[in-house]
């Protein structure tokens, strides 16, 4: 007889039944947790039992650490360039068409339209805010074994200065939204997460709609929902954030309209397929938007969106 083979008597069976009933209750209880409580539980486990492993992973991961430093250095050098430009009254001529260059260029009224940019960078030039409001960190996907990553962890960013939810963007556009401090780093959702929503516009003052994720069997896409009787959206239009909710800064690219419209359920909306600017589910060196609260009437931080909390 196998010495490990479980054997049960009458009492053993009763005890087993009690344990199994307790487990079923625990699972039902876990299923009824609010997202905030789930995040708190996850954060507690990550900050205690998993902490040694997570710290080890961060320490070993030099591959992600270097790009963070590179982007941070780029941001700082561009900020210095902007300061010099302002003091001398000469335009900034950035060779880079990335988000930071766009942000800095438009934050500087002297620079104006002096730099030729690609369509994405052109849209990014609407982002008018201080580069200090972008904190650079490493984004790493979290996933079940066979599933696609819908959530991520972000490290290298001081979580205590972030007001959640907060926008997470790459140099090309919206990546997702940071949701909570997870004990070690920040947890957030890629745009492919079912809870993701962002208000977008084709250009300032143009049509407005809501973009949400569209989960497909092979590939995740975005869907644009507009008012059923609103004006139609041209194909290949670049959608940028409106900044209305205060979570995302204004003018960050989300994706290109690729096809549509189709009628939504009950004809309550028109739907357009949107090709995202940034692929979800991958590791990135990304930036989280942490706008500083206004300090007074004379403050000219130039924030493009509203302060988080001024929900639309």
């Amino acid at each position: 007889m196998n010495r490990f083979r479980p054997r049960f008597g009458q009492n053993g069976r009763r005890n087993e039944g009690v344990i199994l009933a307790c487990l079923a209750l625990a699972c039902v209880g876990a299923a009824s947790l609010s997202p905030e409580t789930s995040n708190a539980v996850t954060a507690a486990v990550r900050a205690t039992v998993l902490r040694p492993f997570l710290e080890l992973h961060q320490a070993v991961d030099g591959r992600v650490g270097r790009p963070v430093q590179v982007v941070r250095a780029e941001r700082d050098s561009l900020a210095r360039l902007l300061a010099v430009s302002r003091s001398l009254g000469v335009p900034v001529r950035a060779a880079d068409g990335g988000l930071l260059a766009g942000a800095l260029r438009v934050a500087d009224p002297v620079a104006g339209d002096s730099v030729a940019v690609d369509p994405v960078a052109g849209a990014l030039s609407q982002v008018a805010m201080s580069p200090d409001e972008f904190l650079v960190g490493a984004v790493r996907p979290g996933r079940t074994r066979l599933g696609r990553a819908r959530r991520f962890t972000m490290t290298g960013v001081p979580a205590e200065v972030i007001e959640f939810p907060a926008a997470v963007v790459t140099a090309h556009g919206v990546l997702g939204v940071a949701r909570a401090n997870s004990g070690i780093g920040i947890t957030g959702d890629y745009w492919s997460h079912p809870d993701f929503r962002v208000s977008v516009a084709s250009d300032p003052g143009g049509f407005v709609g809501i973009v949400r994720s569209d989960v497909g069997p092979e590939r995740d896409r975005l869907l644009l929902e507009t008012a059923p009787f609103g004006e139609s959206v041209p194909e290949d239009a670049l959608l940028v954030t409106t900044g209305v909710s205060g979570v995302y800064p204004r003018g960050v690219p989300v994706g290109w309209v690729r096809s549509g419209p189709a009628d939504g359920a009950f004809g309550t909306a028109r739907l357009y397929q949107v090709e995202p600017v940034v692929s979800p589910g991958e590791s990135y060196t990304a930036m989280i938007w942490a706008p500083r609260p206004p300090t007074g009437a004379g403050d000219e931080s130039g924030a493009g969106g509203q302060t988080p909390g001024d929900s639309s």
């Binding site: 083979r5 344990i19 487990l23 539980v41 991961d61 979290g142 079940t144 074994r145 066979l146």
Partner: protein
């Protein structure tokens, strides 16, 4: 293999899983040490205790992978209970049957986990990555068991 060596192998599999988590997380076709460790542990425990262990491991795994807590806990808990009952009903100890148990178990658990957490499951993930992970894991478990036998001599 001695009982202590068996538990050492199971413990080392849990440790390997969390030590090299970033590697496993980026390679869904690669070996998995968590599920086989849980299944092998469940074979040696009564169903209730195995289920509790499975739920605990599920909570850890959900926190590490940022998956939904309840489905992950439930799937790993049920998997552990199933592993315990399977051993009770179909008593087995031979190496081929153990490897088949591990390989099939991993595939089923990974599928169930993806479905329960609401992840969209592509065909190649379900029928290529899943079996590949199961087979590679079974080989890895076999190698670890050999090492355990050698160490326990």
């Amino acid at each position: 293999m001695k009982r202590s060596a068996t538990w050492a192998v199971i413990g080392s599999m849990f440790l390997l899983h969390y030590l090299f988590y970033p590697i496993w997380a980026s390679a869904p076709w690669g070996p998995d040490f968590l599920v086989p460790a849980l299944l092998l542990m469940a074979r040696r425990l009564p169903p209730g205790v195995a289920g509790a262990a499975g739920c605990g491991v599920g909570l850890l795994e959900a926190s590490a992978s940022l998956a939904a807590i309840a489905p992950t806990m439930s799937v790993l808990g049920v998997a552990a209970i199933g592993g315990s009952w399977y051993q009770r009903l179909f008593y087995f100890e031979s190496t081929p049957s153990l490897m088949a148990f591990v390989a099939a178990g991993i595939w089923v658990v990974h599928l169930a986990e993806a479905l329960a957490t609401g992840d969209s499951l592509s065909l190649h993930a379900a029928f290529l990555y899943g079996p590949s992970s199961g087979l590679l894991s079974a080989v890895a478990v076999w190698l670890l068991a050999l090492a355990g036998k050698w160490l326990s001599r």
